[in-house]
Symmetry: C2
Subunit: 750 residues, 2 copies
């Protein structure tokens, strides 16, 4: 019986933890499976998986063509190791989930297929290599599959699903755009083809239909404006009208239309996904409630003891006092149990970062109370807390900026003075404020300051030592010192309130931006591997003073007189993984991409252009537009959302218990001031506030919330409590594009 | 008494007409002023005003430096004429509006100032010219003021207000962006300044701080990527990281942030403006109601006769049957009067284009009924109505496209065949469908087809005549023929349903796009005039075979070896108004703008770059972003809005009266089919439908609705009928950024 209760608790903990982290894995409910499931979700297991995924991806750096060559044996052993880890993780997952769900999920099949194909390819390549035959390592394209398909990469998969859902509509707009492009090209052929005009390079102008289509496609990206127009414009000014019409229709209208279509679909899709997640969460919390519920009067409830056991299991790191606070919020009237409505909130409660501020006296006040409390010490602390202290250091930063811009020696005398000033500033602040608070989790700028200053100090000292002992300036260290010196100036931004708001938005966007980093990584990896297969070694870079044959033509006579060689672009090649990434980055920026396309087409034949066009369509038209959509949406959500209901409830409770500080006092200087006055009060009477045992709580700053969490809140309000939602099966099978039927349709209003 | 009633009617008509066209001019209510006000709003007066505004703007084409030189006397007489017209229009306006309102309005003061200054400047310039002294015509900058400030240009003023409201927020983001730019430049100076690197042109690389700032600003616009990176990248691959970080932070994040800020403010501002307009409209309708109301039982109403007089005055063009329909909708129960609620709808009712479809027999059926009704004729009409007829002609268009791409002679034999086929197609359609319907107002594609085909036919015949009689090919005519031939192919787009939807969105966007055309015109005019003053004559274009001195350096030795001269950009200069516009267009497209900036800076000194940076900030960062915001918003509104309440009411009524066709039958082929069957029915019994007197109504197609109208509907639903709104004064004084207090706050929900 006790064991059954224990198992129920474990199962309930799994549900709550899933709800808290928005996982949607339908796991088996057998006791062993639940234990394995807890292990599966352990942060160390997850970190290890990511480590091996990135190890697997970065193998391309060491395989031929390598940036840092390793013997084939070493890379293949590493690859086999990675694949075994993936297989192990997948087996673990299979043991945890329901059988039919596991085999119905395309993700798992995909991973298995990729592992199998990779091993096969590795085997074939290895054997052929033994016999001295070179073949293509085609399975390398498949490596991003692991990044996409492991359950941890939910965000990347969501972005990909969003792209897939947008594709049909994008395709129609794209076809219309292509039609317009082909029409304009036809007009261009008719208007300019028979004029015998020449481009600035002396080549025939607008003679060949396919070349015109390519040139005008490049004009849509604006990369060859105004060059492509000049010959016709020189011939007659009226022809400029053709190009103006072209740019308005294709660059301005169609490209905006692409953004509009992508954004519209992204928003629609995001809403549905998030709504699905909110349903899932509610459903899981109700499952957990049903496992633990006991009858109490007319309703089912979860008793206090049981509830505490559950919270301990789900969040072992929370302090007793924090747990007590959560209980006081959930069991408002101290009846000794938590009802369904309050229980369902638990996942959200756990997600809200409630920071426990221990009201502690400064360590010096404990160790040397007489000294710390003396008049000069009090005066000093008063000075540091004064606004003028901040202003003084802002002024010092500005003067420092001028010195950086002016100084001619690499490390000047003034530099030491500024470093010393900054170190003194930090020491003074630590002297005044409580050190553990000063380096609290949410004190971004304090951490930033301290790290930058001490890194700069270390590097400067290291460099000075090297210079005085070995008479040698390390270029790497100097570069780092330069960058650190300039980075210090960023601090001034945080002194201005208006800039803080913008910075907060930017900081909030970072976590989800990593999703797009992942997406970009996937696309780059695939294109880089294709690029290396197609263009490897065709273009070589020679240093400026080289006298190798064709050094000026990037080692390839086919590039003679090309814009590629004339622009000195030889180092932009696909000769290794790192170079390929840099080329792809330059192609993402778009400018001069036609020079690259023409350059590589000269070397390997005209179809090479298709590679560059494909990259432009995938990366710029789709992914960059999704990125912009995401930034727009994040920005609007930031502007439109205020505090959530649950947060307000927690704050109220904290205030009721007299253990709170207002969020609007959260500016760190003020907060710390406030804390000290609270401390005095406690020292004074120790009466009404004795219960707080030297603690105050506060909701962690709004500054570091993710857009995802904000969006989820928007939809949770829509789901009525009594609506137990659909079953897991139904939710999982929901097509992402269909709204959930029972929810109040807010689609039309939005 | 009768005269007073007459005056009330006239005044009410002015109110209703204002409400219908969303004018918000507080006019005087004296009988004479109301008559003058009707005259002021007459379409001929408005068209004349616009004509003179554009005449005034286009004077720059004829003044020195002129595209088409006219004697100074001619242009100055024209200018004085324009100014007199503006003065007349303003006087007319002053006579119409309230005295204090007129003098408080900045618009009017602006216009008067501009007229005065222009006359003064013209006088001074004329006198100085007589004495042979050249001076600057500085008043030319002021000409766009007339375009902005005349009451007709509400949309342009609204866009400008929107920009003004966005400026504070944009400024903060811009300052942060500038800070980031300056920081990166400082790092670049430290990292690369002492390496003694050289650019591809052999110039020193990243030596001078201001030059670095400019180069990195250009990199934000992507125009010098990857050239600006190559020297550092060639030196060490690691330096690529600096540029990647720079592009991510500044190009991707900050530029998206600009778009987000502009879009967010644009949306907020637009909502408030439109809400204000909706209030205005309601208010005016209530004023009109109060003028005409009579007591009836317990409520005030407007009697039928009075109502009809009013509608006749406001919309003299509507047919009797249309008026009868509107009355039946407003006076639902045929009580002989219209109550307040229905009366207030009148402005919207008048705005809905109800097309009166006269069910007429085909003229041939009347003139030669035997022939038209004969079996072969019926078969022919059946064939033309069949889907296969459309498909056949789609196939012909595709074949034509291939012929156009292939043919070598300028006008080939095949061309005549295709032209003949198209003409036959049109004739067959006119034979089958009723001609007046076929060329109905909303039959966009029929008009398009017919115009294109007949223009092509005319031009081809003209060219053939010229060729056979004078053995001379006119290049202009040939060019037009080429373009017309290709434009014919567009028709194929309309055959595919999915493309139609996108085309409709695009067509709906056109009217408001004209606003941005206006805005762009204003910015271009100002910058073109400044550009001509600063750079006129500094750069000359010489044809390729010219042997003028410095022909290759655009006539200016300072451009030797510059990218400007090497790119053969000499024709991009500010030597006349038209050239300046083309240069500004190229700068709007952004690519290579730094080459222009450097070229002109070489010729006239480094401060010239400021002109180009200012243009980039104004045009690209602000106006293009507003344009994109507008397209995004238009697209979303198109997707989210369905039929309005009023429209639904009208349609219901039309259906009730049995005089309607469903909107979903509006596809023109189907519609016409449907009409014919209705015709047969009428011929058959003439019973139930006899009342329709051969008429059916339909709501004009949704295809041609403006975004403005759609948005306005969104907000009208929010205003309760009983809320008479604020007084005129209050509405006029509303700050555009404050929401109207009494409206239900839907801001947070949106």
């Amino acid at each position: 019986m006790a064991e059954a209760a224990e198992q129920d608790l474990l199962l309930a903990a799994a549900f709550v933890s899933d709800a808290q982290y928005n996982r949607n894995i339908p796991f088996r409910t057998s006791p062993e499976a639940v234990r394995l499931y807890h292990l599966y979700n352990h942060w160390m297991m997850r970190t290890a998986t990511y480590f091996f995924i990135f190890l697997n991806l970065s193998l391309a750096l060491f395989e031929e063509p390598a940036v840092y060559p390793l013997p084939f044996l070493a890379t293949s052993v590493l690859e086999v190791l990675c694949l075994l880890v993936f297989l192990g993780r997948l087996t673990h997952f299979a043991k945890v989930t329901l059988h039919n769900v596991f085999w119905k999920d395309a993700k798992n099949i995909c991973i298995m297929g990729a592992i199998l194909l990779s091993l096969t390819d590795l085997g074939i390549y290895g054997v052929l290599r033994l016999y001295g035959v070179r073949s293509i390592r085609w399975s390398r394209f498949m490596r991003p599959i692991f990044l996409i398909n492991f359950a941890e990469s939910r965000q990347i998969r969501r972005a990909l699903r969003s792209i897939r859902n947008t594709l049909p509509e994008i395709t129609y707009v794209f076809l219309l755009f292509m039609f317009s492009l082909l029409m304009f090209s036809l007009m261009a052929l008719k208007l300019f083809g028979e004029r015998n005009l020449q481009t600035a390079e002396g080549l025939p102008y607008f003679k060949n239909y396919l070349e015109i289509v390519f040139d005008l496609y490049v004009l849509v990206t604006t990369a060859n404006s105004p060059d492509v127009m000049m010959p016709a414009f020189d011939f007659s000014s009226w022809y400029a009208l053709f190009f103006i019409a072209f740019v308005i229709v294709n660059t301005y209208i169609f490209m905006s239309l692409f953004l509009a279509v992508v954004y519209n679909n992204y928003k629609k899709h995001l809403k549905n996904e998030i709504r699905k997640l909110a349903y899932m969460k509610r459903r899981k919390m109700i499952e957990a409630f049903n496992l633990l519920k006991e009858e109490e009067g007319e309703q089912f409830v979860v008793r206090e003891a049981r509830w505490k056991q559950l919270v301990k299991l789900v969040a072992p790191d929370t302090s007793n006092s924090h747990r007590e606070l959560l209980l006081r919020i959930s069991d408002d009237e101290q009846k000794g149990f938590v009802d369904k409505k309050s229980f369902v909130q638990l996942a959200d409660l756990l997600n809200i970062q409630v920071v426990t501020l221990k009201i502690r006296r400064h360590p010096l006040a404990r160790w040397a109370p007489a000294l710390y409390g003396s008049a000069p010490s009090r005066l000093l602390r008063g000075l540091v807390r004064h606004r003028a202290f901040v202003w003084t250091f802002d002024a010092i930063i500005l003067i420092n900026a001028v010195f950086i811009a002016l100084d001619e020696d690499s490390i000047s005398y003034a530099e030491w003075v500024f470093l010393a000033l900054y170190v003194i500033e930090i020491l003074l602040k630590v002297y005044t404020y409580e050190p553990r608070e000063f380096f609290g989790k949410t004190q971004f700028w304090n951490w930033f300051d301290t790290l930058i200053i001490f890194a700069a100090l270390t590097a400067t000292i290291l460099n000075a030592t090297l210079q005085s002992t070995m008479r040698y300036n390390s270029q790497q260290i100097l570069d780092i010192v330069f960058i650190l010196r300039v980075l210090r100036l960023i601090r001034i931004v945080d002194s201005i309130q208006r800039f803080q708001v913008i910075m907060n938005t930017l900081i909030n966007i970072v976590p989800t931006m990593l999703t797009f980093g992942g997406l970009t990584l996937v696309v780059y990896c695939v294109f880089a591997i294709i690029g290396m297969e197609a263009f490897h070694g065709k273009i070589q870079y020679f240093p400026a003073n080289s006298n190798a044959p064709h050094a000026l033509e990037c080692g390839n006579p086919a590039l003679k007189d090309s814009l590629f060689a004339r622009g000195k672009y030889c180092k932009n090649n696909f000769n290794n993984f790192a170079s390929s990434f840099i080329v792809l980055m330059e192609l993402t920026v778009v400018n001069q991409w036609h020079v690259f396309a023409n350059g590589f087409a000269n070397v390997t034949g005209q179809p090479a252009k298709l590679y560059f066009i494909a990259f432009h369509i995938v990366m710029v038209i789709i992914i960059v537009n999704i990125f912009v959509s995401f930034i727009l949406e994040a920005f609007f959500v930031e502007y439109s959302l205020e505090k959530s209901e649950v947060e307000t409830a927690i704050e109220q409770k904290i205030q009721e218990l007299g253990m709170g500080v207002q969020e609007d006092e959260l500016q760190h200087e003020q907060l710390l001031d406030n804390m000290e006055s609270a401390e005095h009060e406690l020292e004074g009477d120790g009466g009404a506030k004795a219960q707080s045992k030297g603690l105050v709580f506060k909701i962690a700053s709004k500054r570091y919330r993710t857009v995802d969490a904000l969006l989820q809140r928007m939809f949770e309000a829509e789901i009525p409590l009594e609506d137990e939602g659909l079953s897991f099966e139904e939710i999982l099978n929901l097509s992402p594009s269909s709204a959930i039927p029972r929810s109040p349709s807010s689609e039309s209003a939005a």
